[in-house]
Amino acid sequence: MNSVRLQHFLTRNTYLFSLLLLAILLSVNYSLQDNLFELRVLNNSMRTLLPLILLAVGQSVVVIGGGIDLSVGTMVSMLVAMLVKLITVESSATDIALAVLAACGAGMAAGSLNGLAVSYLRLQPIVTTYATSFIFSGIALLLLPRPGGQIPTELRRFYAQTPYGVPLSFYVIGVLLLLWTLIRSTRYAQYLFATGSNSQAAYTSGVPVRAVRFSTYVWAGFFAGLAATALTFSTGSGQANIGDNMTLDSIVAVVLGGTRLSGGKGGIAGAIIGVMILRVIRNVIFFADVPTWSQTLVNALIIIAALAGPGLFGLVRRMVKK
């Protein structure tokens, strides 16, 4: 009975291994960079990480549902362009709040396009979201042909604050994790995991698979809106391709965090940990004085090693069986 519960626990919490990996990497990082946990440094790091964290959370939802979204980065570009146009130095708090809402709404609309194509037209996710990324890129360029934009200084300060000595970003992450824990115990979550694990069986069981799949892409769009908000508050200005590179990072983060790419398993904690792992690896490389031109390679090799880890265990297990 105990081993069943243990197995159940390990399956439910796929991020444990990555958490361990993060802990190890953090210790290495700390040994090389002793101001790592200093408030100012920590806050800076988290402020720049929050957009990717939010994006990776949205990507997680899509991946758990059995899909993938290659347009999230360009969505962010498009929504940042939108925000930068809506928020000016004279914007009041209400204006800003409305702008953020509009961005999230627009993100959800963009996500709906993806959702419609993948779920109701039954198009393949990779090629479809690749196609829509062109559309979002184009819109971003239309909105913001040249880099620019300015936001009120108070807003940047707001984003950089550290209530009770803890960076704002951690509060956001805390809220996300809390919301996920609540959502995890709803029927919707069961539907989501069922759809990702075996959509045919889910359908036969009466799960509204098409609607569930559609919703995951809408979530991705919503989180792209949040990510764009964080990015705008962080940098204060925008350019049309600002988010484009975040897509692939969001996927790597989700996988590093232990979520299975084929769906049906995982959670948002993994995505959050995955993004942090990526950042810590970069820190370690920088502070270990790896020669500039070798940094990209070392970074990539470490990521491959992290990805290969679970695979190696599996291989050894299979060899032992023989």
């Binding site: 993938i68 194509a117 037209l121 039954r122 198009l123 393949q124 990779i126 090629v127 479809t128 690749y130 196609a131 829509t132 990324s133 062109f134 559309i135 979002f136 890129s137 184009g138 819109i139 360029l141 239309l142 042909p145 959509s199 045919q200 359908y203 698979v209 098409r210 692939l248 996927i251 790597v252 996988v255 790419l261 084929s262 500039t292 031109w293 070798s294 940094q295 990209t296 390679l297 070392v298 970074n299 990539a300 090799l301 990521i303 491959i304 990805l307 290969a308 695979g311 190696l312 599996g314 291989l315």
Partner: protein
Amino acid sequence: MNLSSVSAGIQRSFPFVRHLTPPLIALLLAVLLFFAGGLVKPNFVNINQATNIVRLAAFLGIIAAGQTLVIISGGEGIDLSVGAVVTLAAMLTFRYTNGNNSLIAWGFVLSCGAGLAVGFVNGLGIALLRIPPLVMTLGMTGVVQGTILVVTQGEMIGAAPPLMAKWIARPLVFGLPGVIFIWLALGVLMWLLLNRTTYGKHLFAIGTNRTAARLSGVRVQQVVVITYMLSGLLAGFGGFILLGFSQTVFLQLGNNYLFPSIAAVVVGGTLLTGGMGSYWGTMSGALVLTLIDSLLRAMELEQAYQLIIVGIILLALITVYGRQRSLRQ
């Protein structure tokens, strides 16, 4: 509405059209687009333009050859590292021939060797360690890019041998540049590989049903590794050839070919789920994509509109070609 129902409908009305396969449809579409260009821009339709388009499509087509194999192999097969391998091969040739015509063969060997090596690592990770292809090839992209930086130390020194430009990109025979002949030769080779070799039969088998394939004696893992090696090899070859066209090399050189290589395969009628497809289809797909690009350029639209239209057209193409199975039958 999807391709098979359109195809079935056409077959019913015009019985002689039984052989209208997706690659043929793509080819017809390409021809249509070419003449549509004439409507948009008066002197679009001429031999030079056609030659130019085929020349551009050839590079994409060569790079997409490996992608075709990987996608046919199934198991969510995809190779995201082709862009980086193209750049790597071009860089190696650029650097180590240094404009020296007598070293072209050496450049060729380096390019193909590097591609094979990358493909081998991809194959090992995917077949042995069971890492999903999307993730493995994505990770290798970083490794390849990192390798490029280490080798070049940030400086792209070297030169493209002038003989390559002469043989590949400039008119060679009947006013057609060499790359077109190379592409055609590759087309024939790929057809032979896919339809007349044991490897080809095994490839289609593992793309269709891996369990049945294994129980019929197909060494699935071997075929997977070989496929990714071939993909790397062809991408390396593509990068080598690209140097005949682009006299300079920069880090993003191959990136513009990565996703179009996937799109070309899909538009050509190869299923992303695997087990079915052809290289003729990819060739037609490359033509279609290149034509769309050229048309948009000819229309002199703002880049923003170009991007949006490309996205819409791609969506339209996938809607016709690539719909998945319904949950309810």
